[in-house]
């Protein structure tokens, strides 16, 4: 189905972030480590248990999702933006690769980086907090699906963006609030009704809820719905990204 050129492009995307590992892999390990120390060790003992699990374990799925979503998004958006900015995207557009192949190679690169970050934070959780995974298959499925979805978002933003600002706007003004209102550090049952209702329409909440079910075996709401939303987002964003590349939206004149 896919040409040899497609796999070369995938290899290029993975090599790019591996080459920049200090910027692409280490930061999420360090920031997650800090979250674990501050929220887990310092505050965890005062909060006690939520839904029958220790607080430090309760927040781990949210931290993992943060480590997956941001890098997956940043990988694709910045890779495309850089290629546009320095005009070497033309080297790719003139090749026999289709729009679908180009967008999927970016998405796979972002997904690999997102999953790699997620696995590193899971390992950190294991070593620092003794985290045990309830369902390995489902955990990887969530990491993969959510990374794929946000790598797709990154492709769309990377295509659309005219400056680096646009890329950071999404991180700072969309992802960050959605994370903090997505039940990373608390159960939404602790929230007032208005914010609880708001969380219910926050897709990140459902993704964190799903991963919490996969890793800890607990869920505040429907795990099946979480799975459905994650898959729907992955398919929708990658389809839109591929469509935009195929049409040359904001890339071809």
């Amino acid at each position: 189905m896919f040409s040899l050129g497609f796999w070369v492009m995938v290899k290029r995307e993975i090599k790019r972030f591996m080459f920049l590992y200090k910027q692409t892999l280490l930061p999420s390990v360090i920031s997650s480590g800090l979250y674990i120390i501050v929220f887990g060790a310092a505050m965890g003992s005062r909060i006690g248990e939520i839904k029958g699990v220790e607080y430090i374990h309760f927040i781990m799925p949210g931290l993992v999702m943060m480590a997956v979503i941001n890098p997956a998004y940043q990988n694709t958006s910045s890779s495309i933006m850089q290629a546009k900015f320095l005009r070497f995207i033309e080297d790719i557009l003139i090749t026999p690769l289709s729009g679908l192949e180009i967008s999927l190679s970016y998405i796979i690169g972002g997904t690999v980086r997102g999953v790699a970050n997620g696995v590193l934070v899971l390992l950190l959780g294991y070593f620092l907090t003794g985290l045990q995974i309830d369902n390995w298959f489902l955990t990887f499925f969530y990491l993969f699906t959510v990374a794929w979805a946000f790598a797709g978002v990154g492709v769309i933003v990377g295509i659309y963006a005219k400056s680096w600002d646009s890329i950071m706007v999404i991180t700072n003004f969309f992802f960050m609030p959605l994370f903090f209102l997505g039940g990373v550090f608390y159960s939404i049952e602790m929230l007032p009704e208005f914010w609880r209702n708001f969380s219910m329409v926050n897709p990140l909440y459902w993704m964190i809820n799903g991963l919490r079910y996969a890793t800890l075996g607990i869920a505040e709401t429907s795990h099946e719905l979480s799975l459905g939303i994650s898959i729907l987002f992955a398919i929708s964003f990658s389809t839109l990204a591929s469509y935009m590349f195929s049409k040359g939206y904001r890339i071809k004149t």
Binding site: S3, L4, G5, V8, M9, K11, R12, K15, R16, F19, L20, Q82, A83, L86, R87, F88, E90, D91, I92, L93, I94, T95, P96, L97, S98, G248, K252, T253
Partner: protein, 320 residues
């Protein structure tokens, strides 16, 4: 045999309404060395962009060896190598890796890509720079890498947009020799250039494009013959009253006789004889001929390189 590149009624209207191409037609035979000349904004880069898939078509069609550039883009693009005017490099990789990746995008196996990369590095004198990043190279070396990228997958058609812009004379001549060689080996070359001499030296056929339209297509020789002027400029040692030169027409400008002749080398002796027979002493005879640049200026009303240095003077002087 199908043309290497065929463009039919190609129209391009950009967002905002700018009509960059107004229904142009081009047919570039396989194995030819073809020049596309035009002033800035004439539509050269848009035409190349459409052929290579960088620009969307508004209407009309472009085919590469019979493959539609949109519907059969995979087959079409495999046949083309493009060296854009603007230098563009993937900053994360060394020169060697860049070339290997570029070959790989065209479906060339890893082993063959490495071999082709070595050949290209050798050809362009870049072997020692294999592990360098593009930003570490001089302008001339960057241009070599740019052209090597266009050729690394061994395409049948090579499109070069201003390949010698800003390069030194040595590299320019090295590139000319190389382009002649690969053209001789069967590759079709489409060249855009600001240097008229480059087109005159290299191209068998030239199309002049202006304001989104192809004005004229012919060989450089035919263009200068059909649209230009040629003749003799003769300086006399003494004036001749009531001079007659049959069958030619002439003017006297600043005391020099300008005789209009299609083939001045052939007719020079006859003209000198007639002047001598009428008592004229000849001090100097110079052949003048319109250059392709003169033709370009005449047809478009614009100069190709107002801000560029001329690289040669297109005239021959003969001292008698």
């Amino acid at each position: 045999m199908k043309p290497a590149i065929e463009v039919k009624n190609l129209q391009k209207i950009y967002e905002g309404g700018l009509e960059a191409l107004k229904g142009i037609n081009l047919s570039i035979p396989q194995g030819s060395f073809y020049g596309l000349l035009g002033p800035n904004g004439a539509g050269k880069t848009t035409t190349i962009g459409i052929i290579t898939g960088l620009v969307n078509i508004t209407s009309g069609s472009a085919t590469i060896m019979g493959h539609d550039s949109v519907k059969e883009f995979r087959q079409a693009r495999k046949l083309i190598g493009l060296s854009p005017q603007e230098l563009n490099f993937d900053v994360f990789f060394s020169i060697g890796e860049l070339l290997e990746l570029q070959a790989g995008y065209y479906g060339i196996s890893n082993k063959e890509a490495k071999e082709r990369t070595s050949v290209m590095l050798e050809q362009f004198g870049l072997t020692e720079k294999r592990n360098s990043r593009a930003r570490e190279l001089s302008g001339g070396m960057k241009r070599r890498v740019q052209i090597a990228k266009a050729l690394v997958h061994d395409p049948q058609i090579v499109i070069l947009d201003e390949p010698t812009a800003g390069v030194d004379i040595e590299l320019r001549h090295m590139l000319w020799d190389y382009l002649r060689q690969i053209n001789k080996e069967g590759k079709t070359i489409l060249l855009t250039t600001h240097y008229i001499e480059e087109a005159e030296q290299l191209c068998e056929t030239v199309s002049i494009i202006n304001d989104g339209k192809i004005i004229v297509t012919d060989s450089p020789d035919n263009l200068t013959r059909s649209h230009g002027m040629s003749g003799l400029e003769i300086t006399l040692t003494s004036e001749v009253t009531d001079l007659k030169l049959n069958p030619w027409t002439f003017n006297i400008i600043d005391g020099k006789i300008h005789v209009n002749i299609d083939h001045p080398e052939k007719e020079m002796a006859k003209v000198i004889n007639q002047i001598s027979e009428q008592g004229g002493g000849i001090e100097n005879v110079r052949i003048f001929r319109s250059s392709l640049e003169d033709i370009f200026l005449k047809l478009t009303g614009k100069s190709l390189h107002d801000d560029e240095e001329s690289i040669d003077i297109q005239e021959k002087t003969l001292i008698v």
